[in-house]
């Protein structure tokens, strides 16, 4: 590079050689700027993590208690005359028998309550309203117990439960408390006798709806949500993949396909409540499908998941390198064989990841379900997706609105369970991606 090269300007020519030692002011300020830039990022992450930690700590602290329920051990005389009058032991009589009376007798004997009606009423209030169901289940499972006196653990009422868990203050004036002094004394006595303690609360996971917090569970919600996920999987995945394959592999690029593409992206951005209204108008009003049914909820959620599946599938199909298609075409594979033998198998991990993430989003979706009657008080398990049920997020919504103190911890527990499902699904998506992702 001599004279023939571009002429150097005077400034360039006269410049002192650069020093490599870092003492220039400009260099120092550049370093400081870089450090600040990194600090902003760290601060942003810390901000997010702080609230996440807060959320989890709050949920665990509040929801942990719901895993246990105060139960009372009563020695119940399973009197044959009450349970099976005339010696008839069959399901009908056993189902209709008066278990409450047996429990109350046992409770009176345990506490030494006489015939005073006020006392009796206060004593009975210690028992859960659903305790008779628990006893009925025990007896019907083993009718040979009839005629014997057996110790059974039945749920205490929610008031007792909150007292045991220390969620209500004992030192309030008596008229501001749900439990009176005498009842508290009984509770203390039962605890001292080892007849009243906290045991694992299986009802939380298996029971249906109940207005008594100690009997309320998420069984129906879990089954309802599972049915809905099944419906979403069976509709959104095949429809989404078929649509994506057509758009990606067969459709000509023209104004119509552009329009469809734009609208698929728009569909992904439609607020979920609108899908709920759509479901209400189409599935319930037009097609006359049953209210509160998981199949309808699932169809509505499928509409929401569909664009996610289509977009994920198209992206995965696009990521399959053209060289693989050419290779397959080159040995004489037909277009369909190229797609089914090569493109789809290679795109499958991406498709499944997208589907799972879409389903996880659908699992947590509440708004559209409110409009199709999934906010329902359902006690019995739905046998099919056409029977009334509720869903996990809806159950949380309903419990969060319930006034009883005991529903607070149950709400937190329900949120934890929903989050557990979501974390499992997202982890599955991440694992799938890690395991099968292919780099070209």
């Amino acid at each position: 590079m001599t004279d023939s090269a571009l002429p150097m300007t005077a400034a360039m020519a006269n410049r002192a050689p650069r020093k490599l030692v870092l003492n220039e002011k400009r260099v120092r300020s550049r370093y400081a700027a870089e450090r600040r830039f990194r600090a902003y990022g760290i601060a942003a992450i810390a901000f997010g993590l702080f609230f996440l930690a807060w959320l989890f700590v709050t949920l665990v602290v509040q929801g942990y208690g719901a895993l246990q329920q105060s139960k009372m051990r009563l020695d119940v005389n399973l009197d044959a005359a009450t349970l099976a009058p005339g010696g008839k032991v069959d399901d009908t009589t056993l189902r209709a028998a008066d278990y409450t009376a047996l429990l109350r007798t046992a409770l009176r004997d345990t506490l030494g309550v006489g015939s005073d009606r006020a006392q009796r009423r206060e004593a009975y209030a210690l028992l859960s309203n659903g305790a008779d169901n628990e006893l009925r289940r025990i007896v019907m499972a083993d009718p040979t117990l009839i005629g014997k006196t057996v110790p059974v653990w039945v749920s205490a009422s929610a008031d007792v439960d909150t007292l045991i868990k220390g969620q209500i203050a004992r030192d309030l004036p008596e008229n501001q408390r749900r439990l009176k002094d005498r009842q508290i004394a009984w509770v203390d006595k039962l605890v001292a006798d080892n007849r009243l303690k906290k045991r694992f609360n299986g009802a939380l996971f298996v029971n249906g709806a109940s207005s008594d917090p100690e009997q309320a569970g998420m069984g129906v919600a879990i089954i309802g949500s599972m049915y809905m996920m099944l419906v979403v999987l069976l509709t959104a995945l095949p429809v989404g993949v078929a649509a994506a394959v057509y758009l990606e592999e067969f459709a000509a690029r023209n104004r119509w396909t552009d329009l469809i593409e734009v609208n698929i992206n728009n569909l992904a951005a439609v607020p979920s409540i609108v899908f709920g209204l759509l479901g209400l108008a189409i599935f319930l009003n037009f097609f006359g499908m049953p209210r509160s049914a998981p199949v309808v909820g699932g169809l509505v959620l499928s509409l929401m998941t569909l664009p996610v599946v289509i977009i994920a599938t198209r992206a995965s199909i696009k990521a399959v390198p053209p060289s693989i298609r050419e290779a397959a075409l080159g040995v004489g594979a037909s277009k369909m064989q190229v797609i089914t033998h090569h493109v789809l198998p290679l795109a499958l991990p991406g498709i499944l990841t997208g589907t799972i993430i879409g389903m996880a989003r659908a699992l947590g979706e509440t708004a559209p379900l409110l409009l199709i009657g999934m906010v329902a008080f359902v006690v019995a398990y739905p046998a099919t997706p056409f029977d009334p049920a509720t869903a996990l997020p809806v159950q949380i919504y309903m419990w969060a609105g319930a006034p009883e103190r005991s529903f607070v911890e149950r709400t937190s527990a329900a949120i934890l369970i929903l989050l557990a499902f979501l974390i499992v699904m997202n982890a599955a998506a991440v694992l799938l991606r890690r395991r099968f992702e292919r780099r070209w």
Binding site: A252, R253, P321, S323, I324, R325, E326, A327, A328, L329, G330, V331, G332, A333, S334, Q337, H341, H342, L346, R438
Partner: protein
Amino acid sequence: MNTVAIKPVAATAGAASGNHAPKVVSQGVKVFYGEKEALHGVDLDINEREVTALIGPSGCGKSTYLRCLNRMNDVVEGCRVEGSIKIDGDDIYDRRIDVVQLRARVGMVFQKPNPFPKSIYENVAYGPRIHGIAQGKNELDEIVESSLTRAGLWKEVKDRLDKPGTGLSGGQQQRLCIARAIAVSPEVILMDEPCSALDPIATARIEELIDELRENYTIVIVTHSMQQAARVSQRTAFFHLGDLVEYGDTSQIFTNPKEERTQAYITGRFG
């Protein structure tokens, strides 16, 4: 074309043409990408059981022409082919032609080795399987073995047929792709710069292989390397700017080109 008889397989390396009948006859082949005309009417006869090299600078249309021969251009959107290409007298752009059958007869090896992300065995067995060539597992095994043997890869991979084809070296992958192409018993093999992604040793190996395959197959190879064209081919076609400039025996093209442009290209004055 009605005089085609079965020719004895007796060509010696570098032999002059004349004793080989044309396998592929093209007349006035024009290719359009949208409005742009990429090939301006190519007349080219490709002889049976010979290697025909297509050379020329980038963008001259040699790959485009090659891809017409198995209708690979069909999948390119907006691509249109005019003129006629006949293989054994059948116009391959006739409406009644089944592209799948055509591609089984005219195999292709690509620039970048592109084995399927499946086992070595599956790579070779795929073609015979989809065309229903093999009756039963034993026959399929035989096809896989003979294809890999012909591609000079059998000894290297016979103990790891169930390992992924993508785990082989570049040269081995390309030979696997050749084995995959010949597994469906094609008559013509198209090679689109098959050595451009390989090192010199792997390239030499592939060139040897091409020379061996010439006994049984009609080979058309696109190459950027004039040395390669000179080494492996019997006939050479020089393309420039979408025209077939000169076509003749390789020895003649490289020693005594008739056209000035050919002369300029092979002596490295452009391209």
